[in-house]
């Protein structure tokens, strides 16, 4: 197993495209082995500690399953805030302590920069499982992995990101990650929830075609991949604006009639009502496969930092 160039996995933009290729290739290999019923043991004898300062069942289980699928073992703090931190311990001290118990640490924390702070505190690899409004790099990588698996490639695709593009950590990271490939972007959102200028400018400066629209239907007509996110009432200053817009961003079969049959529909989950359940049966409805892709991606990353 070739190591990552960094001790840690902290940000989606820390990887070169070559390194991303290696991660995806490793994930692909692991996924095939699991499907063939092989028992893998790249992390036999290793212990992962999952430290979650806010609950995230999906991410925690996915990391833990990944570790177990490589014959590693897991100790877990599902609600870290109710324990040592409550006694006034700093994140630095918690990490210095847990490094004595584990070979690799997965950290979820509500504060931006927490994972980087943790990584500086220890020689043990830190995997960032979300630091507030900051980064969630394993999500971005599994999103990319899903696009490649579903569409065969990422180059040349038109990718629509839809919903709340202002506040969504997921879509920000994914946009940045895709910017190293030959993508056309469509950003579909209410005016009040537009993709931040900073990100749009960055993409444009890299020569990526970017189109913004308020119409989800327009985005559907154009795209190969539709990445939906949820619009939350509390994000609007004016609740009437929310009421005016909310239905326009609920995806159902009818709206999809105007799109390509080969379209891949993604969502970071959990969904509430932003994708009607009648969409689930479509061949391109990839969101549950996308969630499952978290396991091989996290297997690859765990093996490449702790193997």
């Amino acid at each position: 197993m070739e190591r990552l160039s960094s001790k840690d996995v902290l940000r989606a933009d820390q990887f070169s495209t070559e390194e991303i290729d290696r991660i995806l290739e490793t994930a692909r290999r692991y996924e095939a082995a699991l499907e063939a019923g092989e028992i893998l043991d790249a992390l036999r004898g290793k212990v992962l500690a999952t430290l979650f300062y806010e609950p995230s069942t999906r991410t925690r289980l996915s990391f833990e399953a990944a570790m177990l699928r490589l014959s590693g073992r897991v100790v877990s703090v599902a609600e870290a805030k109710s324990s040592s931190a409550a006694k006034g311990e700093s994140l630095h001290d918690t990490i210095r302590t847990v490094e004595g118990y584990a070979d690799v640490i997965v950290l979820r924390h509500p504060q931006i920069g927490a994972a980087e702070e943790a990584a500086r505190a220890t020689h043990v690899p830190i995997l960032n499982a979300g630091d507030g409004a900051g980064q969630h790099p394993t999500q971005s990588l599994l999103d990319l992995y899903t696009i490649v698996k579903e569409q065969g490639t990422v180059d040349g695709l038109t990718v629509a990101l839809a919903g709340d593009l202002k506040n969504g950590r997921t879509v920000h990271s994914l946009a940045d990650l895709l910017a190293d490939y030959g993508i056309e972007f469509v950003f579909a959102s209410p005016e009040a929830l537009r993709m931040p200028n900073e990100i749009v400018d960055r993409l444009c400066s890299k020569g990526m075609p970017v189109r913004e629209t308020e119409s989800l239907t327009d985005a559907i007509a154009a795209c190969d991949v539709l990445y939906m996110t949820r619009i939350q009432r509390e994000r609007f200053d004016d609740p009437r604006e929310y009421d005016r817009l909310k239905d326009a961003y609920i995806l159902d079969r009818e709206m999809l009639a105007g799109g390509k049959e080969s379209m891949t529909i993604m969502h970071p989950l959990p969904r509430v009502n932003e994708i009607a359940t009648d969409v689930d049966g479509l061949p391109g409805a990839a969101y549950f496969r996308q969630a499952a892709n978290g396991v091989p991606i996290r297997m690859a990353l765990l093996a490449m930092v702790a193997g």
Copy 2:
């Protein structure tokens, strides 16, 4: 390992008597192997997810120990309600997600029918670890297993179910399960907490002798197996009625003087005060052995759906 006829374990009445025989036989074999110090590996490389929407330490630990005793591995959500469900995710979506992480799912949920809903959502086996006032099939099977182990057989026994027979999921399922064997039933309860007519009628229509009594002492005089459950104050409209009756349903050594020496005393646990601790030392006090029997039964079921 022969598979169950169903993908899932949802209800106590889903099994034919032949299938129950196979489950008990498999449990017996596993129990003997554990006692002989063997390390079993029927589920090596498999991952179980335990999803508990209400806490149940006993049931969760028992399932997890069963999985580990077969060399399987476990990811666990001890308090599922505080996680994705809190973000508005449907049970369907949670199950569709977790199926990407695990080979088999154990679900505890406060709502009747939740396990069946989960089973329909996924191709992964679902084991119902209690769905509110509904079913708890692994409890019924371990109860049956306990009777057979303690008495050598189930046929021809007189089984008394005592306490709150109106609200007790456990006794309802057990009565239905035993109805396929040659049992005489005694139902001992306060009038207000009688076994529902629906169940009594079902047993009678199968030709099972059923006797109802308000007297625990009467039941003790007649039975080979005494299955105690707790009477809770909040179940009574009239608290004076509770005060009048509660002591009559507290089992102690003195009350047992009128019963058979070979009597088996069972309880689903936890107990509060409905069995005096002086009973614990009797050879027939089987309730802690009954709890322990959950492990081989759950090993058998896990192996037969996921092996």
Copy 3:
């Protein structure tokens, strides 16, 4: 693996010095094996149940990691009070139930004597992971192990215990444990938080030299090992007394200038502010190594009761 003379690990003073030597020697061997990358399997096929009636991430993770490092497996109740106990179940019954699932039980409980009560209830080994203001024997052993590792020996050392010596379970147990070695004690605390007379008398009756001081600086000048604990405002009847004293018990680099270069600085963690972070970089700052030493010590104990 030679067994302990007792089925359980309940109190720091249950061990003879010969037994302590064996525990430390086993821990040393395990630590060396782990450092050499060996995969140990003394507890393959065994299941540990960790039952924590109050949260203690550090202690729980350390025990669980220890079990996993010996190829054992773990079922865990991180917050036991919210489960069966909430339904009115006695500790006795909980233990009698869990003994059916596990080969060894680690118990953390807020009440003094809880571990001994649990040990009497079951034939399964109980390891006391802290019973309120009572005992925490694995902490005392890892403290001793740390002193030996850091200083090469324990005999002939001057050991200063500092901070709140009145309420600290940790320092009480450690003082008693060290009393069987040739130690000179310095107890540095505010007058209101002095080491209880009972313990001082016991040490004196064993012929141990004991010196008490209010000055942390005095203690530093004399000692080979400085064991810091936290002073909590709520322990003082008079808050002005707290304000007068608190700064005098915050250790920083400047205060250490008057001490030996070879001094070992220990702390049971978590710390809040009682050791300035500028101390962390000193070669003698051993508190994170001390935490890590919990793993080999607990491996040794688990193997010696359940192997």
